[in-house]
Amino acid sequence: MITARGLLAVAGGLVAGYGALLLVTTVPPSSLLRVAVWMATAVIIHDMIWSPSLLGLGTALARVPARGRRFLQGGLVVAGCLVVVAVPLISRQGSQPRSTTILLQDVGRQLAVLLALVALVTLIAWLRQALRDRRRGVLSSTGRSEDGTRSQ
């Protein structure tokens, strides 16, 4: 494993170093500064805004009983995947003349359709589980009574 790690590390260092060399030799300094600011901003937004927001959402969800919460969480993960890709598209809708044939559809409406579909499938999955539990006589338990954890 030590050899594998060493080889990977050397290869990684060379490849990343080549990228850094390309940056300083092919990109003007004013642009480089912008790239650096964007990289730092991306890390800050992710670590200080996005992730704490997810933690907050998870804490808020902890009030929902655990057996139902799993479907809510799963549905939110799927919905989140669609939303993070769709939002930039929506923000660019109408930014170009129609003749450039970009984003001709109403992305906001399409996203609403997709999210409704996700909600429907999530609800069906939850109902199936609830019916099955009922048949087996499992009492629905609250998340907090099973253990004190919050899960995000």
């Binding site: 990109v27 992730s51 799963g74 669609l82 044939t101 970009i102 984003l103 954890t149």
Partner: protein, 400 residues
């Protein structure tokens, strides 16, 4: 026992309790991210080669759908990586709160390298999507930065794998439900971790399980791919609810990236006095009527844009090689075609197998070429990046 003595954490230090996060989950998410990044990097290099081929290895003309496939994969994996990377980063967020934040120089370098990896990868994904959306708010020349950052990301991923190899081996070698809970306390410091206390009973995940996270991620990322990839995988175009372009929407059933109005060429393109100048050992000019008379060759070829859309189309026109030979060149010549356009991708060079297969197209899908598709004549060649199929031609030069 490899317990290390760390100073006690302050009471206000964040503490993570979710039993869902685990190295077993992260390793599985990371494996998919790694494969996606590798695919995206490899296809990106192929795309870069379209613009800067080595003289001794011209871009092949077959398979004609080569660029269509590789660039479709490039944009699809890049878009898929956006939610995928966010979920992968969610799974390791507690690592940001290791205490003490820095314990040695090596540790500091390691953390800094992760910051570079995350920053470069996020900027790469975000600006890649922005470029597809014709959104240049980042304010730098996209191509050189995207190309250089790709190497930085690829190298940082390799370094990251090297650093995390023991964790990856543990994570992939352990059943996903059985793995240690990942919190802000590292393995070595955690008295109840598998490495210190031996195998542990699997932690209880009363709500969404780790397997559930993987399933939801698969469905979510799969939904993103299925609803966007229709812009190039034409059988799925009806499912393209989030597709940025639709391959059949546009004049003559083909999308347009840059219109004649945007390029500022309309007046000159529809000028009846237009003629094509062919420069070479025996230069000549071709009037519009003569050119249209010669346009007898038909071919079905895809047009595949660097921005990820593509569509197969029927083209009719003149063989470029016929004109090159008449000007004194041959199949081994390097040929430059030039556009009426004064800025942007106004020229491109073509050589080797692509030169022999190229058409100067006058017709698209049975109709005289629309001005937004390059009237009076444009270049089209197989396995060639869309933007290199120069539109609104008025000059051809046999360079060598």
């Amino acid at each position: 026992m490899i317990m290390t003595t760390s100073p006690p954490k302050p009471v206000w230090w964040p503490h993570f309790t979710s039993p869902v996060r685990s190295t077993t989950l992260t390793a599985r998410l990371g494996r998919v991210v790694g494969i996606a990044v590798a695919l995206c990097f490899g296809t990106g290099l192929l795309s870069h080669y379209q613009y800067h081929p080595w003289a001794w290895l011209p871009v092949p003309a077959a398979p004609m759908w080569g660029y269509r496939l590789t660039q479709g994969v490039h944009v699809a994996t890049g878009i898929a990586c956006i939610p995928l990377v966010l979920i992968k980063l969610w799974s390791v967020y507690p690592n940001l709160f290791r205490f003490p934040p820095v314990r040695s120089l090596r540790h500091a370098v390691e953390r800094l390298s992760i910051a570079v990896l995350v920053g470069a990868l996020l900027v790469q994904l975000v600006t890649g999507l922005m470029n597809v959306l014709l959104w240049y708010a980042f304010g730098w020349d996209f191509v050189p930065v995207h190309y250089a950052l790709a190497w930085v990301v690829a190298g940082s991923v390799l370094l990251h794998i090297a650093v995390k190899l023991p964790d990856i081996r543990y994570g992939l070698g352990t059943r996903v439900a059985d793995g240690d809970v990942l919190t802000e306390v590292g393995w070595a410091d955690n008295p109840v971790s598998t490495s210190n206390a031996g195998p542990q009973p699997p932690p209880s995940t009363p709500a969404l399980s780790r397997r559930g996270v993987l399933l939801a991620t698969g469905i979510g990322v799969g939904a993103v791919v299925v609803t966007t990839v229709g812009q190039t995988l034409t059988p799925l175009r009806r499912l393209g609810l989030l597709a940025i372009r639709h391959p059949d929407q546009g004049p003559q059933g083909v999308p347009v990236n840059r219109t004649a109005a945007q390029a500022g060429v309309i007046t000159r393109a529809v000028d009846p006095g237009w003629a094509l100048a062919v420069h070479g050992p025996t230069s000549f000019r071709l009037e519009l009527s003569a050119l249209e008379e010669m346009a007898q060759h038909e071919a079905s070829m895809p047009i595949a844009c660097v921005e990820g859309w593509s569509v197969q189309a029927d083209w009719r026109g003149l063989r470029l090689l016929d004109l090159v030979e008449r000007a004194g060149g041959g199949p081994d010549s390097v040929v430059e075609v030039r556009s009426l356009e004064r800025v942007g991708f106004r020229t491109s060079q073509i050589t080797g197998p692509q030169l022999s297969a190229a058409l100067l197209a006058t017709h698209l899908n049975g109709e005289r070429l629309n001005v937004d598709h390059g009237y009076p004549v444009r270049l089209i060649a197989p396995n060639r990046a869309g933007v290199l199929n120069t539109k609104w031609l008025n000059e051809i030069e046999v360079l060598a």
